[in-house]
């Protein structure tokens, strides 16, 4: 990341949902130091949801250490009731186990940020969601960012065809509309 680049966050609204008072205050102060226009910080799911419904939120930071955070993320991605189901959601947690990351991914998080954080890790995540918005995938029971960082054609044999049919090697890329296995 080139640190000489400039960004103007003065028109952005952030919503922070962090249960821990100490972590919430730290994250709020750090985001204010980045000159965001409005930083709304909430400690419980219902007030965070109310704030999300009544403000034009651009980016959400949500603590998914507890089940409440994951529920909030799932509500945000619920296209039937969410005011903006495609909003970037940066999941924060004090845990970085595979299970925690997988839970955030499966609930539709855009990025994952482990606490403790530094100025540079916070900025990296924010710049990434701003500059590289992901295509969203919607399938039954899931709405969230497509985890694939690169679009590559499938190069192996097409195993979906009956064994008696000859493999057509000329259609590389024909299956790219199917999602590949999700990466963590």
């Amino acid at each position: 990341m080139r640190l000489t680049r400039t960004f103007d966050f003065s028109s952005f609204t952030l919503l922070l949902f962090v249960e821990s008072e100490f972590a919430r205050q730290l994250l709020t102060d750090m985001c204010r130091a980045l000159h965001f226009n409005l930083v709304i910080s909430k400690r419980d799911c219902s007030t965070a949801w109310d704030a999300f419904k009544t403000n034009p939120v651009d980016i959400i930071f949500g603590d998914i250490t507890s089940e409440a955070g994951l529920q909030f993320l799932k509500s945000v991605r619920d296209i039937e009731k969410s005011p903006n189901a495609l909003v970037p959601f940066i999941a924060t947690s004090i845990k970085s186990s595979i299970g925690s990351v997988a839970s955030a991914r499966d609930a539709g998080a855009t990025e994952f940020l482990k606490l403790p954080l530094s100025g540079i890790t916070l900025l990296e995540r924010i710049i990434y969601v701003i500059e590289s918005p992901r295509v969203f995938v919607r399938v039954e029971g899931f709405l969230g960012p497509d985890r694939r960082r690169k679009q590559r054609p499938y190069e192996g044999p097409d195993r979906r065809k009956p064994a008696t049919t000859e493999a057509d090697t000329s259609n590389n890329g024909a299956q790219t509309s199917k999602p590949e296995r999700m990466a963590t």
């Binding site: 750090m30 000159h35 651009d58 969601v129």
Partner: protein, 163 residues
């Protein structure tokens, strides 16, 4: 909705908005955010030192015949805060000492109210408070070093001996 995935391309309005206006360099933003982190670390140091001093006063009150329920509540709450602050500010030693003190206080909670102070138990609590001071002096760090691991092992040994 069938089993077939639908792909939704998201309009990149955030990038356009972030490019408007005067802007602030990432270097300046990073410096400002790191300063906030440093300020919170200093505040944590002061708050934890105060909490340790108050805990010692609570121990003295208990020795003088106070209710041990009050002591348990105060120390368990302080231990939880230390654990949380250790997690958030990157002080794994403080986190681990907080976890161990909290575990120890759950044992204490089982004692009858206004029970006679036990010298060994008081010594164990004070050892945890001393270990917190070590963690605070150490400041933020990535991993628990060998010397800190020995300290944690000793705390566990003390707990087992008393338990």
């Amino acid at each position: 909705m069938t089993g077939q995935p639908t792909f939704i391309k998201v309009a990149n309005t955030l990038q356009r908005r972030a490019a408007r206006g005067h802007g602030v360099s990432l270097e300046d933003m990073k410096t400002a955010a790191d300063q906030v982190m440093a300020d919170h670390t200093d505040m944590l140091r002061e708050a934890t030192l105060k909490a340790i001093a108050e805990s010692r006063e609570a121990i003295a009150a208990w020795k003088a015949g106070g209710d041990n329920a009050e002591l348990v509540q105060k120390l368990a709450s302080m231990a939880l805060e230390a654990e949380e602050q250790g997690n958030v500010l990157g002080n794994p030693l403080l986190r681990e000492v907080g976890t161990r003190l909290n575990t120890f206080m759950t044992l204490f909670a089982k004692l009858p109210p206004a029970s006679t102070p036990n010298k060994k138990a008081i010594m164990a609590i004070e050892l945890h408070l001393d270990a917190m001071l070590v963690a605070i002096e150490k400041g933020p760090h990535d991993a628990i070093e060998d010397s800190a691991a020995v300290l944690l092992s000793n705390l566990e040994l003390t707990q087992r001996t008393i338990g």
